[in-house]
Symmetry: C2
Subunit: 567 residues, 2 copies
Amino acid sequence: MRWTQTLLTTLREAPAEAEIASHQLLLRAGLARKLTSGLYTFLPLGLRALRKVEKIVREEMDRAGGLEILMPALQPPELWEKSGRITAAADVLFQVKDHQDRRWILGPTHEEVVTALVAGEVQSYRQLPRTLYQIQTKYRDEIRPRFGLMRAREFIMKDAYSFDADEESAKKSYEAMTQAYRKIFERVGLAALQVEADTGVMGGASSHEFCVVAVIGEGEVVTEEGGSYAAAIEKAVGRPVERKGGEGKLEKFPTPGIRTIVDLEKKHGVVAQDQIKTLVFTNGKETALVLVRGDDEVQEVKVGKVLGAGYRVAAEAEIKVAMGASPGSLGAVASTLEGKKVTVVADLGLKGQKGMATGANDNGFHFKGVEVERDLKIDQWADVRKVRDGDISAGGKKLKVSRGIEVGHAFLLGTKYSEALEAKFLDPEGKQQPAVMGCYGIGVTRTLQAVIEVHQDKDGIRWPASVAPYTVMLVTLDLADPAVKAATEAVIASLDKAGIDYLWDDRDERPGVKFKDADLLGFPWRVTIGAKSVAKGGVEVKCRRAGGMEMIPPADVGVWVQNKLAV
Amino acid sequence: MRWTQTLLTTLREAPAEAEIASHQLLLRAGLARKLTSGLYTFLPLGLRALRKVEKIVREEMDRAGGLEILMPALQPPELWEKSGRITAAADVLFQVKDHQDRRWILGPTHEEVVTALVAGEVQSYRQLPRTLYQIQTKYRDEIRPRFGLMRAREFIMKDAYSFDADEESAKKSYEAMTQAYRKIFERVGLAALQVEADTGVMGGASSHEFCVVAVIGEGEVVTEEGGSYAAAIEKAVGRPVERKGGEGKLEKFPTPGIRTIVDLEKKHGVVAQDQIKTLVFTNGKETALVLVRGDDEVQEVKVGKVLGAGYRVAAEAEIKVAMGASPGSLGAVASTLEGKKVTVVADLGLKGQKGMATGANDNGFHFKGVEVERDLKIDQWADVRKVRDGDISAGGKKLKVSRGIEVGHAFLLGTKYSEALEAKFLDPEGKQQPAVMGCYGIGVTRTLQAVIEVHQDKDGIRWPASVAPYTVMLVTLDLADPAVKAATEAVIASLDKAGIDYLWDDRDERPGVKFKDADLLGFPWRVTIGAKSVAKGGVEVKCRRAGGMEMIPPADVGVWVQNKLAV
């Protein structure tokens, strides 16, 4: 393709709203353009890269036995009522109303539709297992779309759904899909971590996220130094660094004006790790106290798992009614909870701790010398703290918390959807059974941008060859020179013959402009054809990632690149 | 692909709602399934055929210099306000409301979005011409979706948009696109007529439709027997068969109770072609009479072109107020229109006609002996009649009216959108000019179904090889027989080697069931591997379209099919 015949304008500066490098480069390199917040048009170059990502996804899905289908984006809300997600996922659903006042949902995902499909198509265990997938445009009503394709209103997903006759078989399908995911991310040039994850609104028995570590990531992942443990922060388990606390007598002491952990440390010298942090949750009817060490944070997703759905952090007024005291003076010392209807959940990190301080449920008073098991009313022990950098793993290794971009997600769903939407089959004994399901998503457009985020430097993108819009940027200088023209034709012929795709910068521009743009666009190899080098019988080939420059005879360029790609 | 590993269930009977053959076959052959009215899921086989159509479309678009992009389906209504289509196209627009009460449009087409894009990307005549295209899911709020993929709420379109510096260049881009269209339809196996068409709500200077003649078509096309003239019915021009009418005196006569052309013929012996049909149109303020011969129909689209936008057939009450008489007694005899503010448009077919009858604008009275030019008040002559089967073309040939499926449409748009959305460029003199545009659509999913509609018989589909889900149906009988197994493996190896795709019917079913399904699915070749023929050293190859049966050695099947495909 000739530059002067495609639609490609590079920008010196990215619009101010593009806060992160990959978003800036997406715009600066002419890959995409914003239509309006959260909606992007793929220009020819961006679409080429996107199609290469899609092709890799499709190849690995097919290899893993996936069957490609294509479901409508418009969905009848009745299906979402059956699964119960019409309310659970209401926040992100775009609702459509037609001229006959019927409502439709613009699908953010397709568990309901695919399960209803399979309910109609699969009657017997002989038709199982099956994994169906599609690569399709999805919609999410994002209140604050940001970071370009990272969090958009409209985006491309690969979503897959496995249907099995039993749990064991479902686990095999799950493993086949996650293996395909590992391969896909490797092929597109992403070192994605497969981490244990929370199942969230999707439901199901277990789940993994695929995360690319990047400072701009919207999630957090926990990894073990020198070990294999990896989990999303919502799910991660760690042991805090040990504290030392001595024996002592439970003693109430006045703490006027103290409202926070920091206050108590500053004014009374009780360091945060010697305090107990007490949070109040409510479901509107019942009240629960959640206790963690003072230097820890409560992980609300974990609390949700322990207390059940519907619990939230209580408002100050609710706290006063339930506890008779204000935040800052709360605690779970047994004597102070008498007559109060509260359930107390204590973090495992508090087990065996002594010599701690906690609120007295009496404004302006705390206890010191608290021995957790001796003094507190504890109804349930659970892991409810948020893992911190430096925590210790179950295997005794150090844990590290990093920010990550979630590029994929897998859920072992069980029978939640197949029961609700009656995807049942006859087992060998002739009994009706619900199919055991899994679902698997890759954010295809997000993956594309994650590739750019990871592979860039101050000059521009550094595409992995597998998904670069073109493999070669052909830069012709001295366009009017007949020898240069002949050399360019020879290079083009050799690239065509080798099946290497290229963009030919045939613009009438200065070398500096062309080189700057070649670095910005960042295709794996730049081939420069100028009078000087041609006179010496060669053209300059430069690798965008490794740097370095080689002189290659024009007619050999295709094979040379082909050999490099094969490495 | 093995039948037992894909998702494929054939149906003996199609659901009752599937009224036409292609819709029935779509469902019976397991190509697609209905989610709900107007929304279909493509199953693996249907998606394969769809992708083959898309690939052909893409190849021909690229060959014609098109640049593929991908625009969002969600569009901001502000763009549609600028073009004025927010009201003009309101009927078919799905409107979306988000949680922040902002409105969005689900795009049925992308003139607005692409023009806004080009406004930002193209600054100079040096960047023109450009033709941008996409293959994308579109949405139309169809009140009555029907015929499966033919008229669906959600469907796949290839839409292209050309931008040129001047009219002459725009015509070249238009010609390149329509040529690509002809090639596309030919390659997918459709004898599509390129017919002159009305520009409708799209606007612009000229337009062509691509129509596939089929009795179930929703439109009508007019073709010349033994000539090249072809036009959509809305645009077609023809001359009615001559009538003979004698000279005579204008004479009013009583016609009590006469309300229709048929009435007057039956009760007074005035045949339809000797009558003048008078229709009243109004734009709410002004009134116009439209006259055609009694045996002709008024073509409303043509009337709209003559009278301008906003005119419609008047209601009975409006007619009485304007004309002082009821439908059935209306006419344009000059003396009866005195004092009435009406414009009269007469069809060209009435020119020179004598001895006709028409209403007297006096209930229960008509005139006979009408000589059109002598007696009527005519403000404008125009072609406003609907062409009828048997009319005569400008070249003196017989015209034929057929029903047709519209699979493609091209519009030379001019500067309507580029002016409204400011897609302007600097010409060589440094003056700002609006780009001259064209737009071009192919209904990709509709095209797929049109292929089925045209290529089928009582037993099932008869796919053209270019878009068949698979090229070969491999039917293995006697699965347990070791010689059959070996022959099957040899056939598979030869097909793989030749790059021929196939579906292997490895089901444990009776031969009759397999043959019936093979005919229903209708891939170009069926290869049957059974103990009898294998014993004779061959397998049976049957062509679905041409019939006939050949015995081929198993290892030669791949090359044999390859050779047939190359013909």
